[in-house]
Subunit: 362 residues, 2 copies
Amino acid sequence: MDSPAIPVMRPRLPDADALLPYLRRIDQTRVYSNMGPLARQLADILGAHFHCPAHPLANATLGLAIALMAMGPPAGSLCMVPSWTFAASAHAIILAGMVPFLVDVDEASGMLVPEMAADFLPRAPGHVGAIMPVSAFGHPVDIAGWQDFRARHGLAVVVDAAAGFDTAQGGDLPVVISLHATKVLGAGEGAFILCRDTDLLHRCATTSNFGFSADRQASMAGMNAKLSEYHAAVALAAIERWPQDRGHIMALTRKLAETLPQTAGWRGEVTRAFAANTLNLEFPSGWQAAEARFAAAAIETRRWWGGGLHRHPAFRHCPHLPMPETDRRADLTLGLPFHGDLDGVALRRIADVARACLDDQP
Amino acid sequence: MDSPAIPVMRPRLPDADALLPYLRRIDQTRVYSNMGPLARQLADILGAHFHCPAHPLANATLGLAIALMAMGPPAGSLCMVPSWTFAASAHAIILAGMVPFLVDVDEASGMLVPEMAADFLPRAPGHVGAIMPVSAFGHPVDIAGWQDFRARHGLAVVVDAAAGFDTAQGGDLPVVISLHATKVLGAGEGAFILCRDTDLLHRCATTSNFGFSADRQASMAGMNAKLSEYHAAVALAAIERWPQDRGHIMALTRKLAETLPQTAGWRGEVTRAFAANTLNLEFPSGWQAAEARFAAAAIETRRWWGGGLHRHPAFRHCPHLPMPETDRRADLTLGLPFHGDLDGVALRRIADVARACLDDQP
């Protein structure tokens, strides 16, 4: 192949010049972490952007663990989570002292939805103390539905919206959004929790700072998951240019819709109306065959969620229900390149291989 | 009071100009986390500095949890830890799925020493799966002694040397050192693990990256505790100027020895031969009276370790043995200002109040 390789992911965070004004402020305050002025400014700006109080954190994995810990479900109880998610969801549940209870996702959305969770509850092999719905690759989560579910069942609900910066909504329950470098709005490492319940959000903040009450006494289980002033600086610089960045992502998304076939399985993904950081398509002949075709064309791909949680060695022992839809998605889904470096030539190369994959016999 | 307030802590990390060359490299690589080039360079430089393989991490609390998780002690077993430590030690033990077992410290060193731990083992109320010795405010830990202990008892040992950048030694067991802004060498947030057992260090690294094996399968429990390239940049810039910074800290330490009375209780602290980030003195009349005197003189103080773990509400339920020495230290110890902004005038103000405190009747 003479064509240059196309990486599956190629972030571009604010450069040194964009960071410099924030770094000069750090030099002046000489505050470097512990909810300093930049982290507080970030919380304010996120709060205004989402019309919901926000608290910044070191990363989303810790954010999910913290939200669970702050809601105080019984130690050792089960946390229902869709198997179709990133490994971090289950790791966070274990960090919070709970046991992941792996369940299937909805055929239409690829997500655990409240009605399914209600059906699964009586089939749990133990006491369910919490539920963690997951935004599938940034698709919007039914926050109102989960609030109803929580009110009806009295269970803790923490929403993993790691890739959901552009679709996240605040609610009475914690919604955790990642600011990792690979996300649409990246700070390198970082995350934040949205929550209208300000007492609960305050408990999350306390949990992220060693469970310290005002007198530096650990009043509850906790950890260090504070966002430093440096990462707050990167996040603030990234938010400054978010309108342009979002515009570029949506322009690229529109090109996908023009370039890729809109088969029944692909339409929802290539015509999505929100800014996402990945492109995950289902290949009827399976991800392996597609991966091989793309690799031969020097196009990098990735199974962002692998085979689902229940196929990771670390989570195989976790209680689970049958999950035909997760298995179907895991067997077919492959992540293609999707980032700002893709030009028309690269997009056409990707589309040509994708079209060829569709011609493969399942 | 007309005298300006003296803060207890006043970090000064590398400024924007010192960071700029590293930030330009980040702009070139467009790698922002996930053990990028700067984090790898930091690992190499730390390895050379300590003559021991090192792995950088997001912070020391997570580093301690990760080291425990990587050593795989039985879930739910006890981890023996001195009560005379910062809250993070116990939080890390709980994050790792273990139960803190709180014990006393040695009168001479203020630390849990191997002989004491051996004595405490048969008095544990359950199965002890690990031990976490703690460096008291940066004082050196007997690594050889703990290696012997580990060999003799077959127990996991993880050393909390959070404040021990200047005294830490590598060994066959994980030693966790903080790079928090308040430490002698600060990166804002950050930490690293030293360990000569490269298989174990690799397991720590894997644990810090979602337990992922090469194929992005979670092979073990894990989390995200990666050090970003931004914090690696701050750490690298801080290491560049470490010889000068250490020189300044040691010059300040020598001034302490000239300015403060070298009573029996204070001599060890004010004549210490290593760079520390705090100054913790025992006041025979108790910390409360001393705190009041310093506050009246506009001098900020802090009880860095409060009353010991067993007095934090979050850890009161943890199994513990009697701890007369911890209680004695907790009742008397107060942290005084100790940082690079202290000039001769400030030092004399601190010394005057400290001397007056000694005259108080216990």
